[in-house]
């Protein structure tokens, strides 16, 4: 299989604007990515759209063809990839395979989601479609309640308090302050975190990523196309993997073991030929602070029960040992669910091309990016590496 490079990226600012429209959001992100790549749109062979909720919340399926049309790419191959909140990452994965395997020399990926045009209860119900409806949804479980179960089980098993999770959120808010595309631009400290209301015991408001709208896009290209566009340094997808686990928490061997995180991380890192020490920054799926802790363990950064060792703003800040959520993450940049996985790739690309501005991680050469669907049911992991 061929090497695959990221030739350009685009994103729209994350908003809560109820009047935003999916087709225009998506088209804006793809057009921005094409402009960034300086690639003739006529050379794009396919568009892969990552989306979770358009059918449920906006009566609109078939976003592949729709966004292709509104981007001026009418006629090209285009489909939608769905894996709940991992839809964006999964779309990147399918697009990677299309280029690596030789189907297309250049493709576009677009993650898009619109969530604020309906009331909060409708969003909650829609997000619950990522869980196992028959075993969880019908009992009234929501994504919030399932993550609360995980956090409570974690606190009980390892004897830790809820406030120990705060630094993950505090760091995310800190990084979002200087990200113009982020939804939240408000500093967070431990006092504010502790004063925030408990939305589902033991989860506080600031443990949770916000409901919002947004679209992001990346252009993936084969070596010969990327070579024509090269601007000094370029970014290669050095590892790509997707793994799954049972959707329902009750069907897992251990509630607190994210087996699909382990499997996909190992596979992506093995393909890239890297170890944990080679990773300069990590964009985790920090939809809830508990997910970040569990992810750090399952991804092999530390052992089970020690994920909170990383809940330390110095350790995970932009100049720390392992910078996390460098543009604010799902927590503070915002989590337009089906788009988030693609935003993560955009941000890692900006880091590796030294275009991260005030959010720049010094000397960033290798990034790990991970997008999760459900409470760990679909996990997509990519390793991006700067080539000189």
């Amino acid at each position: 299989m061929r090497d695959v490079f990221i030739a350009g990226v685009g994103q729209t600012p994350i908003t809560k604007d109820p009047n935003s429209r999916g087709r225009y959001l998506g088209a804006a992100a793809v057009k921005a990515a094409l402009t960034d790549a300086k690639l003739d749109p006529g050379r794009i062979g396919a568009l892969y759209v990552g989306n979770m909720l358009s059918g449920v919340l906006a009566h609109q399926q078939q976003l592949g063809g729709l966004i292709a049309d509104y981007t001026g790419l009418a006629g090209i191959e285009a489909v939608t990839i769905e894996a709940a909140c991992a839809s964006g990452g999964a779309a990147v994965r399918v697009a990677y395979q299309a280029v690596a395997g030789g189907s297309h020399d250049a493709v576009a990926v677009c993650g898009v989601e619109r969530m604020t045009h309906v009331d909060r209860d409708e969003v909650t119900r829609a997000l619950a479609t990522a869980a196992d409806w028959e075993l969880e949804g019908v009992c009234g479980e929501s994504f919030l309640s399932l993550n609360a179960k995980l956090m409570r089980a974690y606190m009980d098993r390892y004897g830790v308090t809820a406030e120990r999770f705060a630094p993950f959120a505090i760091t995310a808010h800190e990084n979002a302050l200087t990200n113009p595309n982020a939804l939240l631009h408000k500093p967070l400290d431990l006092e504010t975190y502790l004063a925030s209301r408990v939305v589902a015991d033991p989860i506080r408001l600031f443990d949770v990523s916000p409901v919002c709208n947004g679209a992001s896009a990346v252009i993936l290209a084969a070596p010969h196309v990327a070579g024509e566009l090269a601007k000094g340094s370029s970014v290669r997808i050095a590892g790509s993997a997707l793994a799954t686990a049972p959707l329902a928490l009750s069907r897992r061997a251990d509630l607190l073991e994210l087996t699909a995180v382990s499997a996909s991380t190992q596979r992506a890192m093995q393909q890239a030929g890297i170890g944990h020490d080679d990773i300069d920054l990590f964009e985790p799926h920090d939809a809830y602070t508990i997910m970040t802790a569990l992810t750090l363990e399952a991804a092999g950064f530390t052992r089970a029960g020690s994920g909170l060792d990383y809940a330390d703003t110095a350790r995970i800040g932009l100049r720390g040992e392992l910078p996390l959520a460098t543009f604010g993450g799902l927590k503070a940049r915002g989590h337009p669910v089906g788009a988030s996985g693609c935003y993560q790739i955009v941000e890692a690309f900006l880091q590796l091309t030294e275009r991260a501005g005030a959010n720049q991680v010094p000397d960033a050469e290798v990034a790990l990016v991970q997008n999760i669907g459900g409470t760990g049911a679909t996990v997509v992991t990519h390793v991006l590496a700067r080539e000189r």
Copy 2:
């Protein structure tokens, strides 16, 4: 890119059983395909699920991981592909790329849909998500009304009567009589067709494919895996292409020209190196009789305005010049929307391996299979060829 073979197929009978459950339907089809292929499930690298309506009608997204789990494939790569009624065909297309490109040596594809557990109005609204919601859906357009516009426009432009379309439906019903998996087992004649009620002028009840449930699956394999399994003859995916067109009828240059049918058919046939005379049978997307007429024209079997020349039971019957819908098609086998494209591949495979029983097309060596999303917005075309 490598050759890709179909190693085995599975399907569940099409039903209107409101108690059927998606995860079990899907798992049953995949298990049947694995058994048919005599392939150790441990060798399956990924599962691609084609589905359109589970999120909207069954509160369940992330079917990839869910069906992988219930099939005993927990952990493997698995995602859902959505392209409205072309979801099944699009899943086959993405799976084909994964094997052809070298990502996986063997993968499973599952098309699955459940539509009869909700009332008819809810299904109608859900199906309208395949159209352009902002331009068509909000005005009350349904799939039925959009197809009625196409049929009326066709009749007006070419001066033909509605009854000229009947032979497409009559042939489908005839073929379904001997397909044990078909929903409809009732002979249809012109008299009955003409006596049926007009459901959306000029469309009669018998011009429309029925709402139903079902799941189908295929196993795709690289040459070395297929070679181990070979049973005399095997079927190769000789051509695979997906093209799109604007979703809304109002955004098309010509209402009656299915540009994505033309593009994807040409591309798939060119890849396969075949001409129209080489095609022994055609599984068209006969969701409405008008779609069959328009498809035959756009796919190059005849010129614009002449599609009804094929509306002749002798010409398109099992022993005719161009057998269509050989197991009953969407019209009479049934159209569980996101599953139909995969059923079509299953049926073409059975024809090319001489396992079609009473529905066998004599000496079938090359099949054209086409799955359409919306009123021609996403079109997936495959050419299957028997290898000796």
